[in-house]
């Protein structure tokens, strides 16, 4: 158990306690409490290792308070992988203390694709009972473990798996790729998957969509549920290896990180999976990377869009995958579209997967700064590359009654390519 932390000791002792993380930690900015910032968390981990602290409930709460946005990691002079320290600490705490009930239920759902599929379907039907539909989405009717003010997106009437065929072929393909959609794209914003197929097909890329795919496992890993995450990793590694494709393309930085970083690490101890995981890791790309480095965006396909947009860089696309600035550059190529960069596009929006559900107030404070930056640009459209950011941004925009719409990078590109003038979600070929 404590050998979990032991396994990360080399990261913990690298911290020279300079406090540079204070300058960039979104949570520290709000609370100004040392326990919120990376230096504090690393020292807490060190204290546990040194036998000065037990695996207490309070300690678990402290480690819960992290957006895993990695701003500290990229600002750390000593190169401490704070994200890894936090995840190992959470895993150790989960083993020692067990998980709180909501995490257990959610984890069970995410881990069993069939259950999730059914649950989400049922949710689609029953959401009318629990939620009231507003202009911008759904608000809970009763306090179902969610803040009543919160505006959540409605689940898609038809999820992506129901809409998108397994095989999306083109003549003489230049390449065959597999789409990994991720939960939010599959159940909430299926238009993102459709847009991706549209854009890639036009580039002569065949897209297969393995239907058995499920949650990438990152949400479990982030809550310290490592063993289940490992099984999910193995399942995907086999599935996508068997697809025999040239590349795996993702539309969410966290999913991308799962394939590129977490799977090889989770499976490193299993001889039969390790090699495959590593190979898959080497050919996984976020859509912004893919259209920059692998099959470069064909500018002659782009049609004009009379849109004024800004761009929010998701933490795990920018810092996690190291693809900062790539989506921005693609979007800037769209004729007639006006781009106004926001202040600090890479600062976390506070969404961070389920963080915003569990710490609504704090997450909203973090979000408030982002909303001010958005409104400072005067743009009417916010483009981003992650479904979780999109949920968070949409909630904030609705709360503040701001008019902006949120789109995924690949939806913007699809609009430009197909000539669809409206700024809504991508609805597939009209």
């Amino acid at each position: 158990m404590s050998n979990r932390l032991k396994s990360i000791e080399h990261e913990i002792i690298k911290c020279m306690k300079c406090g540079n993380c204070q300058a960039v930690c979104p949570l520290y900015k709000e609370t100004r409490a040392e326990n919120a910032v990376a230096r504090g968390k690393v020292q807490l981990a060190a204290a546990v290792l040194g036998g000065k602290l037990d695996y207490t409930a309070e300690l678990a709460h402290r480690f819960d308070l992290c957006l895993t946005c990695m701003a500290c990691v990229s600002n750390c002079p000593c190169g401490v992988r704070v994200d890894r320290v936090v995840l190992e600490a959470r895993a150790a705490l989960a083993e020692k203390r067990g998980l709180p009930l909501p995490h257990r239920v959610a984890a069970a759902g995410l881990a069993r694709p069939a259950l999730m599929q059914m649950g989400m379907k049922a949710a689609g039907v029953t959401q009318k009972l629990l939620f009231k539909r507003g202009e911008r989405g759904m608000s809970p009717r009763f306090p179902v473990g969610l803040d009543l003010k919160r505006v959540l997106p409605a689940l898609a009437k038809k999820d992506l798996k129901e809409q998108l065929p397994e095989k999306n072929a083109v003549q003489n393909p230049v390449m065959r790729v597999a789409l990994f959609a991720g939960c939010v794209t599959n159940y909430v914003y299926p238009g993102v998957g459709l847009a991706l197929v549209e854009v890639l097909n036009r580039h002569g890329v065949e897209v297969v969509f393995p239907k058995e795919q499920h949650c990438c496992g990152a949400p479990l890993l982030i809550h310290g549920i490592k063993d289940t995450a490992k099984e999910m990793a193995a399942s995907h590694v086999h599935m996508f290896d068997a697809a025999g494709v040239d590349a795996v393309v993702t539309v969410c930085g966290t999913c991308g990180e799962a394939f590129r970083h977490h799977y090889p690490e989770l499976l490193s101890g299993r001889a039969k999976d390790a090699g495959k995981a590593l190979a898959l890791s080497g050919r996984t790309y976020d859509i912004a990377e893919f259209l920059t480095d692998i099959v470069p965006l064909d500018h002659t396909l782009l049609g004009p869009l009379d849109t004024h947009f800004t761009y929010h860089e998701p933490c795990h696309v920018g810092r996690g995958l190291g693809a900062a600035g790539k989506a921005e550059k693609l979007l800037k190529a769209i004729p007639r579209a006006t781009y106004s960069p926001m202040q600090d596009p890479g600062r976390c929006c506070g969404g961070a997967g389920s963080f915003s559900f569990e710490h609504y107030k704090l997450a909203s404070q973090v979000l408030d700064r982002k909303l001010s930056d958005i409104s400072g640009t005067g743009a009417g459209v916010v483009v981003t590359g992650c479904g979780s950011c999109r949920i968070q941004l949409n909630d904030g925009l609705a709360q503040r009654k701001m008019p902006q719409r949120v789109l995924h990078t690949v939806e913007m590109l699809a609009h430009s390519i197909t000539g669809a003038r409206e700024e809504g979600n991508y609805n597939g070929r009209q």
Binding site: I13, K14, M16, K17, C18, G19, N20, Q22, A23, R32, A33, E34, N35, G40, Q43, L44, A47, K52, L53, T56, E58, L59, R62, P77, C78, G79
Partner: protein, 466 residues
């Protein structure tokens, strides 16, 4: 543990949310940025939101004789905020308002928890600047930097924190609130108490409000980067730039160990055969800047240096990259980074650099040196591992010898990081018994019970790691 009634009284003053007692949270206030010092837990951490609360809680501390440790961002490098004898850590981070920017009198009034960079962001629209810029501008507080009298990269031309503090509000050890100085450029009313509290490291009073001087931001700047194959050439260049009546805003040096480490770390094309690199920036009125840059170029060439001048912001950024990478690169070599700041008169820079190389060899240690050459303020950085007891003994011996050498050259123990607990045992070397005696008399007069930051600067039984 503190008596329950003390905690209750603190809660009465500040409310529950500002009185922290959980072990997990206390642990986060047991350290600052200093390596190789003890890290005992405080009994309680308080976060007052106004001067009245600070005054009241100081009275409680005094009544019960409980030690108090003022704390800003905890980035100091001399153990200044470590709660050495238990008691109350007093975090000033919730008093963080920029109260006024007075463009007519060129002053700003701030609470102690304001971050230096935030002040600069607030005065920039007025075309003004608050020059003190320690490497931690983006994290350090105004209160902490005043209490530490921080320096930075612009010290040579613009001076250090004490040259900008015009007025202070201080809560004294008996809870009284006193104000000294103000917005006037001239003020000789009685003793200069503003200077006394500036750099007092939290041992004489709690700073609760600060009036600082601002200057018009320089309009133009030129940045140059010079490499030398000979250490004394670099040292001579530093001396003769100033002798030629040019005072650069920045005049930084990196030694060969640092150059090699940076290059190894970030591959930015530094000449690893160079014995030293200087980074020079002149700023001010455009015409003057042109002239000064010419003089600097001339001086460097006369001293066998190879020079590069930035033509635009992008090139400036590239030249600065090496200097910015110095500490990060060194810090990644080994787990523990002991950063000293012994300082010598500018004319002794070469001698000090050579002595540092000898000390590194003698004690078989890795020491990379960089720093503010123009100020004679070097940062010999010892790369080590706290867990290696034998090596740590050699580190302590080397540090001692660095101090000896700096003092022998007419320098000082600390140019900007302060004495805290890390250097207190060496104070007598520099000040003599008489000088140290004066410190104690002042301390006893202002804090007779010894409740303010005990164990620092040699007060109340603090002797550092000796």
């Amino acid at each position: 543990m503190l008596q329950k009634e003390i905690i209750n009284e603190l809660v009465k003053i500040m409310g529950k949310e500002n009185v922290i007692t959980g072990r997990e949270d206390l642990l986060c206030y047991s350290y600052d940025a200093t390596p190789d010092v003890p890290d005992p837990l405080p009994d309680v951490v308080v976060t007052p939101v106004n001067t009245g609360q600070v005054s009241q809680l100081v009275q409680i501390a005094r009544q019960y004789k409980v030690p108090l440790y003022p704390r800003g961002s905890g980035t100091n490098l001399s153990g200044g905020t470590v709660p050495l004898k238990g008691g109350i850590v007093l975090s000033l981070l919730k008093m963080a308002e920029i109260m006024e920017v007075d463009a007519e009198n060129l002053t700003a009034t701030v609470q102690p928890g304001v971050i230096i960079q935030d002040l600069n962001n607030a005065v920039a629209p007025h075309g003004l600047l608050y020059p003190p810029d320690p490497g931690t501008v983006a994290t350090a507080t105004m209160g902490g930097s005043v209490a530490e009298c921080s320096g930075g990269l612009r010290g040579l031309k613009y001076g250090v924190t004490k040259h900008y503090v015009m007025g202070l509000e201080v809560v004294l050890a008996d809870g009284q609130v006193a104000r000294f100085g103000g917005k006037t450029v001239k003020n000789v009313t009685a003793l200069d108490m503003v200077k006394l509290f500036t750099g007092s490291e939290g041992t004489l009073g709690i700073i609760t409000e600060i009036i600082v001087r601002l200057i018009p931001a320089p309009e133009a700047r030129k940045t140059m980067f010079a490499t030398f194959t000979n250490l004394s050439d670099a040292g001579n260049a530093v001396i003769s730039i100033v002798k030629n009546k040019v005072i650069p805003a920045t005049l930084e040096i990196m030694d060969q160990v640092t150059i090699k480490t940076v290059e190894n770390f970030s591959q930015i094309g530094l000449p690893t055969e160079a014995r030293a690199i200087l980074l020079i920036e002149v700023d001010g009125i455009p015409e003057v800047v042109e002239q000064e840059a010419d003089t600097v170029l001339q001086v460097i060439q006369n001293n066998n240096g190879r020079v590069q001048m930035a033509r635009d912001e992008q090139e400036r950024d590239n030249l600065w990259a090496a200097r910015r990478a110095a500490l990060p690169a060194l810090a990644q070599v080994k787990p523990t980074t002991v950063l000293e700041d012994a300082t010598v008169p500018r004319s002794k820079i070469t001698e000090m650099l050579l002595a540092l190389e000898e000390i590194a060899e003698k004690y078989n240690l890795q020491i990379g040196t960089f720093g503010h050459a123009g100020d004679g303020n070097l940062h010999p950085t010892i790369l080590t591992d706290e867990r290696d007891k034998e090596e740590m003994e050699r580190v302590h011996a080397a540090v001692k010898e660095i101090f000896e050498k700096a003092l022998a050259l007419g320098g000082t123990l600390s140019g900007e990081h302060g004495i805290g607990m890390a250097k207190s045992s060496f104070l007598e070397w520099e000040l003599g018994a008489g000088g140290v005696g004066v410190l104690h008399k002042i301390k006893n007069a202002l804090d007779p019970e010894g409740i303010l930051n005990p164990g620092k600067m040699g007060f109340n039984g603090g002797t550092g790691h000796e």
